[in-house]
Amino acid sequence: MIISDKDLAEVILDADNEDLGILIDMITDSGKGRMSLTSSVCTQLTNAKSTNIYDEVTRALIAEELSRFGGNSLANFLRGGEGVSYKEIAMDVAKRVKAPFNSQHDCLTIEAAIISKVMEKTLEKMTEEERKEFFSSVGQSYIPGSGPAAMAALLAILSKQGMFQLSSILANATATAFVGRGLFYSSAAVAPAAYTAFIGPIGWAITALWTAYDLSSPAYRVTVPCVIQIAYMRRKKLENPCIKCGTSLPNDAKFCTECGQAQNQHSTLKLTSDS
């Protein structure tokens, strides 16, 4: 297998081009390059993005660079710049943001814990009205003034039943905050308003992560947004929601079994607030 890390291989090898483009922008700082990214790799990745050709070699390079940045973030002055597994990267981020997990959990579970924790941090910074709007946009009812316990309970329900929604909202806001553009893919599983209305509060919460938690190493500016993006991509592949009605479908479904919508249009759908 060209990507030896199975937790990355299962997400990256057949990922949508648009999602890979966002990962490339996160790794290369939207093509501007980074101190610890060689110019040849930066060029190779940005060329792939500009030509929209993501062959296996490019996909493997994305995985390799992410592994290397992960190694850079993991107290690695003595490691000599070796890469680390994606699971180690995810566990490190989870540990630093104080998301509950254990090493026996799979990446899906660890990523969910990270998503929930970051959303919790975001909600803390929102006004009561914003919290009410947020929960309403994801199908929950929050009464302003209910207090932190009620908010935590709603978030727990949402984390259990609507993790795809949460990860989509968070990934969209993260991509917008860091690379200046959101997700390309839209699904009826997530209300359009939920994608766009909370980019601001989530963006501020994400940019506060570096010092709110012990994430000051420059490499975290890559690994944290990438973990959030990969978490969304993994969920999208797992749940494969219908682009029209949100019904979860088998991965190879060409049409929705519920509404009949054709499903092979991911690269052509665009996220709009009035769709």
Partner: protein
């Protein structure tokens, strides 16, 4: 910093000196057979440094509720006896951990410093700021999206201002000229990394 905060801060450092000195004196004596350590006795400290035993006792065994406040002369003489830089007697475990974190995060700042410092050892003005900027660590920028959060924006601006000020302070402290290029690059990288990891989350409230 008000008087109470200043008192607490001095008290903490005083207690740290007491703890450091006590720990070191327990093992600083002659190495015994089989490599075992031995304490450095107060009489020996007195003989080598001229520091009275009572003065030493006041530092290593302060009275309940009070913290030692040795003067600079005492601190320097004690450090000389122990073959330590005087500053090390003042340092807490957190201080050391910060330096370790700074070393661990040195990779990118080192690459940036290598790029910015000229072959003859000269460098552009505001070198530390430029290194942090090259690494994407300064200034903090608001997230895209146009959403205004005045509290967060104020905190972000405070962090940026704090960083610039610390860059000026550390430049004045360390940039005395005369060091070779390699040393300059390494020192710049280390300090830039240190400034990055010690930038407080909220400079207006540095207790967090």
């Amino acid at each position: 910093m008000n008087d109470l905060e200043a008192y607490r801060s001095t008290h903490m450092v005083g207690m740290q000196v007491s703890e450091n000195l006590s720990s070191v004196l327990r093992v600083a004596g002659p190495v015994r057979d089989a490599g075992l350590h031995s304490p450095l006795r107060a009489t020996e400290v007195n003989r080598r440094s001229g520091i009275a035993r009572s003065t030493l006792r006041a530092i290593t065994n302060p009275k309940e509720g009070s913290a030692p406040n040795p003067d600079l002369h005492t601190l320097v003489r004690l450090a000389e006896v122990l073959n330590l830089p005087a500053a090390f007697l003042l340092m807490s475990q957190n201080d050391w951990l910060s330096i370790i974190q700074a070393i661990n995060g040195i990779r990118d700042p080192h690459a940036a410093a290598e790029k910015l410092v000229n072959n003859d050892g000269t460098a552009p003005p505001k070198l530390l700021e430029k290194v942090l900027s090259e690494c994407g660590l300064h200034p903090d920028r608001p997230p895209a999206g146009g959403y205004e959060n005045r509290t967060e924006l104020a905190r972000m601006n405070a962090r940026n201002e704090w960083r610039v000020r610390m860059c000026n302070i550390y430049t004045a402290l360390f940039d005395k000229g005369g060091s070779d290029r390699t040393s300059k690059v390494l020192l710049t990288a280390l300090i830039a990394s240190y400034i990055n990891i010690t930038t407080p989350h909220d400079p207006a409230n540095q207790k967090d």
